[in-house]
Subunit: 119 residues, 2 copies
């Protein structure tokens, strides 16, 4: 069994923003942490819901009907297939929960697609 993981220490060790690290597996799902800042790309995940839990800071998720704002300790689930664009004015640290193997850019792909990496 893997030892306990400190989310804060793991986040401190990630040099890049928008580059999630896997911190745990639950059945066929991964728990990941990421540092985000600025605007990401619009995308959706056709095969998985995606939960965002803000560990530190504040972020927004743009949706077709307008943005949702999330502060530290807030949880939000983007259902599968729903177009969304995460963004953060200042650095924000998040915990993600989604099906293992889900690329960060979903169906959009492109240069900002991060490799799957364990912490």
């Amino acid at each position: 069994m893997r030892p306990p993981v400190s989310l804060a220490e793991t986040l401190d060790s990630i040099p890049e923003t928008w580059s999630p690290r896997i911190v745990g597996q639950v059945n066929d799902a991964h728990l990941k942490v990421a540092r985000i800042e600025g605007e990401f790309v619009w995308h959706s995940h056709p095969d998985t819901d995606e939960a965002f839990d803000v560990v530190e800071g504040e972020m927004a998720i743009d949706l077709e009907d307008g943005p949702v704002t999330l502060r530290a300790g807030d949880l939000y689930v983007v259902p599968r297939g729903v177009e969304h664009r995460p963004r953060a004015e200042r650095e924000c640290r998040i915990l993600l929960f989604e099906r293992a193997g889900t690329p960060n850019t979903g169906d959009a792909g492109g240069a900002r697609t991060a490799p799957e990496r364990w912490a």
Copy 2:
């Protein structure tokens, strides 16, 4: 889509300890929050891994080889089938990730089995 959920406000609203509330669904998994204090029962979940993320406070999970201690911001996954006993000397607040429909007492059952309830 469900609006964002404040984990702190949800936890404040739960009158009982050891009585998880569901705060989100990701595919076939539930995210739950719970207030815990004292010792729970030894049990295992034959059909699901279970992640513990400490939101506030400190807890231990007794395992056959000894306890694991978790502090705020720590994440730990108990694999399916592994006997464990959560406990906390003082109130601790946690976020859980596991397959939907998983009873809190696992294979042990008994009086401390909590109903499945959304926040």
